[in-house]
């Protein structure tokens, strides 16, 4: 029986949060230098740096639990895709599904709809964890929630602009929503790590997250004049370690330098 003073978030759950924020930070960083306008390019880079900053704090917290061999870098750079526990949603490329070996440009609508669906979730998660009895996790949540509220505002504005914009922007936003919405089912099915976090009483409560999340989705879609898209069908399992084919390429990019030069310092 643990008391409030020494309740710690389970390592597996901290890693789930860390992997999720790192993978989306890395994914969104692909826009760096390629944004649709200079100002949006900077906005997206800021968003990525916020997420990577959150990941660093979470990996440091995890490393303290994982033992003397573990560090922020070892957890980020020396685990393979099978060890990562991020949501599948955040590892998907910036475009819809396509034939193998096909190439497609980044689609800004996909990026923004994803950021909207995800930051909408994380605002709820951080709001719960802000009051966690795990003091260090609570401090990370208190910092992250301010950043995430801004990410939500930024993404919401774009979803509305694109949905209620030109025929092209509306069609692209709707296509992105139809493609990504099924992946949000993963949010609500507790992973083993989430279940142990809830059992440990660290402040997480998945059941109460969905209604406010859905309310925000409905409000934004109505304002954007987009059609609600069913979140049904295949349930992705990234947070259980079952990933799409896209994660290994993303990690290959991200980890290659650290692996080629293991002692490199910069």
């Amino acid at each position: 029986m643990s008391t409030a003073a020494n309740t710690l978030a389970p390592l597996a759950y901290v890693l789930q949060l860390a992997d999720t924020t790192l993978v989306l930070g890395q994914r969104n960083a692909e826009w760096c230098g390629h944004g649709p306008a200079l100002e949006e390019d900077i906005a997206l880079a800021n968003n990525s740096l916020d997420l990577i900053g959150q990941a660093r704090l979470l990996y440091s917290l995890a490393a303290r639990q994982a033992g003397p061999q573990a560090s922020e870098d070892s957890l980020a750079y020396w685990r393979g895709p099978e060890a990562f526990r991020n949501y599948t949603l955040v590892e998907l490329p910036h475009h819809g599904p396509m034939a193998p070996s096909a190439r497609q440009d980044r689609d800004f609508a996909t990026t923004m709809v994803r950021n909207f669906l995800f930051s909408n979730l994380m605002v709820g998660v951080w709001a719960q964890l802000e009051h966690s009895p795990d003091q260090q996790l609570a401090a990370i949540a208190a910092k992250a929630i301010k950043e995430t509220r801004y990410h939500l505002r930024h993404a919401h504005d774009w979803v509305v602009r694109m949905g209620d914009g030109t025929d092209t922007s509306h069609a692209r936003a709707q296509a992105a929503l139809d493609h990504l919405m099924p992946y949000t089912q993963e949010f609500w099915r507790p992973s083993a790590a989430e279940q142990s976090a809830m059992d440990a009483g660290i402040g997480l409560d998945l059941d109460t997250l969905q209604a406010p999340w859905q309310q925000q989705v409905d409000a934004t879609l109505a304002q954007a004049q987009l059609k609600a898209s069913p979140s049904s069908g295949f349930v992705s399992g990234g947070k259980n370690g079952i990933h799409s084919e896209h994660l290994s390429y993303l990690l290959g990019d991200m980890q290659s330098l650290a692996r080629a030069h293991p002692q490199a310092v910069w």
């Binding site: 306008a37 906005a43 602009r161 092209t168």
Partner: protein
């Protein structure tokens, strides 16, 4: 799902976002200072982008954005009649008395 092709017309508005001037107040009590300009589609968008472009290093506590087209500027050609006459009127500078220590920012 069918997405209409990106025609040059569809891309046009992006390059034609109007220009906005950005003013940032660095801390309470100080005035807003002009710090640059940016392109944005409307006022809210401009405010959001100003936050991302001009206050990412904690430069501000408040932002104003103003359509650049709303600013009437003096003409460089008018420089002589606008500004030169004040050049020899040093009595307009309050340099003939000491500012008390208790007076803070001035």
């Amino acid at each position: 799902m069918s997405i209409p092709p990106q025609t040059p017309e569809a891309l046009k508005p992006l390059s034609e976002w109007p220009l906005w001037e950005v003013f940032v107040r660095s801390k309470q009590g100080l005035e807003h200072k002009h710090c640059g300009s940016l392109h944005a589609s409307d006022a809210d968008h401009a405010l959001r982008l100003a936050r991302d472009v001009y206050t990412r290093r904690q430069e501000g506590v408040s932002i104003w954005v103003v359509p650049s087209s709303a600013i009437t500027a003096s003409e460089p050609n008018d420089k002589a009649e606008f500004f030169d006459p004040s050049g020899d009127k040093i009595y307009r500078h309050p340099t003939f008395y000491a500012i008390p220590d208790d007076v803070g920012h001035m």
